[in-house]
Every structure is written in structure tokens, then in C-alpha cells.
């Protein structure tokens, strides 16, 4: 009878069980580099807004001696386009690094774990996006930054049940930052830069250090 289980077999069995339980219940391919790249996009976007679009707007003000409605409309459109561009760039670069990591782990990018993660992110994010668009409809700009930080934080806390749990702490920080921003409503851009730029980069580096440092993508 060779089926007698040896301790070494048992160890392998328990390892397999743990690995499968983890791989099948959470999307573990989220790369830290995705956080870093999204953060860089956000910082680049914030600097374009601060030193390009806003500077231009105030220069026009100084030139004319007053704010013109048409200038304000241009400003709004430029900011919205910039926001869309930053979101697209952040999403694509983040996607790329996670796609690479999933490939190296031999895990399909679109399976039941990533699907579950996706929907649990999308629901709070879509609610937040509609809420913010609703505010803009009433010409309420002050709370766009706090609201986006808070909804994004809630989405991350929700998502942490379906991916690496550490992302929960990034979520807490975003929520706290959003609430803090309520007290300094005129400085949304700076809070945005901290929340979507700085925090993403810090989080991404920590995640990379913790999970990916010793498993370089190209070694497999």
C-alpha cells in the first residue's frame, strides 16, 4: 500500500489547499506598479491643471481685468478633458502592469475573481461619478474633490474583500483625506494630487516591495 500519506505529502497538500483557496477567492494579480503608474499620471495631470490651465486662466483675468464667462466655460471644458485624459492614462498604465503580473503568475486576467473585483469597484465608483455630475449640474464645484476622494476610498474598502487586503488602508486614507478636504474646500486640486497621486505612489511602492520584489516578472 503506497497510498499511506507521508508528512511531506501532507505539507504539499496543505500548501496546495491554501494556494487554491487564495487564488480562487481573491484577485491577487493587482500589481504595485499599477499604483505607482496611476499616481504618476495623477501628479502629471495636477501639474498641468495648476501650472497650465489655471495659470492661463488667471493670466487672462489680469489681461482683461475681469473674469469673462467664456473664459470660465473654456476653463471648465479644459479641466473636464484633462480629468478624462488623466483617468484614461492612469487606467491604461495600471491595466498594463496588472496584466503583466497576471501573465507571469499564469492567472487569466478576466476570471471570476477579477470580475467580482471589477463589479465591486464599479458600483461605488459609478454612484460617486453620478453624484459628482449631479453637483456640477447645479454649478457646485467646491465638493467635487472631496466627493471623488470619499467615493474612491469607499470603492477601495469594498474592493479589499476581493483582492489584496492591504488596499483597504489606501481606501481609509482616501476617505480621511476627502473628509479633511471639506474643511479647505478651495484647495481641491492639492488634495486630489495627494490622494490620487502621492498616496497611490506610496501604496504602490509598498505593495511592490511586499509582494513583487522577490518575484521578478521576467524570471518565470
Amino acid at each position: 500500500m503506497h497510498t499511506q500519506n507521508q508528512p511531506s505529502d501532507s505539507l504539499q497538500d496543505v500548501k496546495d489547499i491554501k494556494r487554491l483557496m487564495e487564488r480562487s477567492s481573491r484577485f491577487i494579480s493587482l500589481s504595485g506598479l499599477s499604483g505607482v503608474s496611476a499616481g504618476i499620471c495623477a501628479l502629471a495631470g495636477a501639474s498641468i491643471a495648476r501650472f497650465g490651465i489655471f495659470r492661463n486662466y488667471y493670466n487672462l483675468y489680469n489681461l482683461r481685468g475681469s473674469f469673462a464667462d467664456s473664459d470660465f466655460n473654456t476653463l471648465k471644458i479644459q479641466l473636464l478633458l484633462l480629468a478624462a485624459g488623466v483617468f484614461a492614462a492612469a487606467f491604461l498604465t495600471a491595466f498594463y502592469f496588472t496584466w503583466r503580473k497576471a501573465g507571469s503568475q499564469g492567472i487569466p486576467l478576466w476570471n471570476h475573481t477579477s470580475r467580482r473585483l471589477f463589479w465591486n469597484m464599479v458600483i461605488p465608483l459609478a454612484a460617486g461619478a453620478l453624484f459628482i455630475l449631479g453637483m456640477l449640474q447645479y454649478d457646485e464645484w467646491k465638493f467635487v474633490a472631496p466627493a471623488s476622494l470619499i467615493f474612491y476610498g469607499l470603492a477601495l474598502v469594498n474592493a479589499s474583500k476581493y483582492t489584496l487586503t492591504d488596499i483597504r488602508y489606501l481606501g481609509y486614507c482616501e476617505i480621511a483625506l476627502g473628509i479633511l478636504n471639506m474643511q479647505w474646500p478651495g484647495h481641491g486640486l492639492y488634495f486630489w494630487a495627494i490622494g490620487f497621486g502621492f498616496l497611490h505612489i506610496v501604496y504602490g511602492i509598498i505593495m511592490w516591495w511586499k509582494y513583487e520584489r522577490h518575484s521578478p516578472v521576467d524570471s518565470q
Binding site: 497510498t3 499511506q4 500519506n5 508528512p7 501532507s10 505539507l11 497538500d13 496543505v14 496546495d16 489547499i17 487554491l20 483557496m21 487564488r23 480562487s24 477567492s25 487569466p108 476570471n111 471570476h112
Partner: protein
């Protein structure tokens, strides 16, 4: 009579020495149970992808687990395509937990 029957079943199902469950000696069945322990339900394709096995191979092991009463099968549809999902049963959960305990005991050297 019933007791004798039960003890025969037990001796077939379990390795009498260490309490390991024979059903879970197959790596694929072990894998299926691991996945089902942490997922409410999962469909055939996701399971296949997760365990990296062929259709036929997986199907055979799923039938075996179903016959043992460890998993339940739900045949549904997405549009016109069949979507068969699998879930763990109460007795499956119990049997697998006991199996894990037995494995852990073996590792610790407690027999």
C-alpha cells in the same frame, strides 16, 4: 446491521490510521474542494481554469464528489448556453475540514 454497514463505509472512506479521507487523495478532488470552500458557487469553466485540468478529467472527479454527497450541481442557462455551477454541501464542508485537520495533525506529527 446498520452499524456494521457504517463501519465498512468508514473504513473505505477513511484511512484508519490517520483519519485522512480517501476521496481527497486525488489532487484534482482536493483542488475542487479547496476552491469550493471559499466560493459560494463556481462554474465549470472557472473551475477548469483554476485547476488547469482537461474537461473530461475534471468532469469525472466532479461526478465522484457529487456521488459522495460532497458537492451539489446546479444546471442553469446564460442565454442559450448551459452554465453548470458547483457548490459545496454541508457534509462536504465537514468532511473536508476533517481532512485538513488530519493533514495538519500529520504535519505536527500527532497521530
Amino acid at each position: 446491521m446498520n452499524d456494521i454497514h457504517q463501519s465498512i463505509v468508514n473504513s473505505i472512506m477513511k484511512n484508519p490510521i490517520n483519519g485522512l479521507n480517501k476521496v481527497f487523495e486525488s489532487r484534482i478532488r482536493l483542488g475542487v474542494m479547496s476552491v469550493l470552500m471559499v466560493n459560494e458557487e463556481i462554474n465549470f469553466n472557472d473551475l477548469k481554469q483554476m485547476l488547469e485540468v482537461t474537461d473530461g478529467n475534471l468532469a469525472t472527479h466532479l461526478v465522484n464528489l457529487e456521488e459522495n454527497g460532497y458537492i451539489k450541481v446546479h444546471k442553469g442557462f446564460i442565454g442559450r448556453k448551459t452554465n453548470t455551477t458547483y457548490a459545496i454541501t454541508k457534509s462536504g464542508e465537514k468532511a473536508f475540514s476533517e481532512h485538513i485537520t488530519a493533514l495538519e495533525n500529520m504535519i505536527k506529527g500527532v497521530k
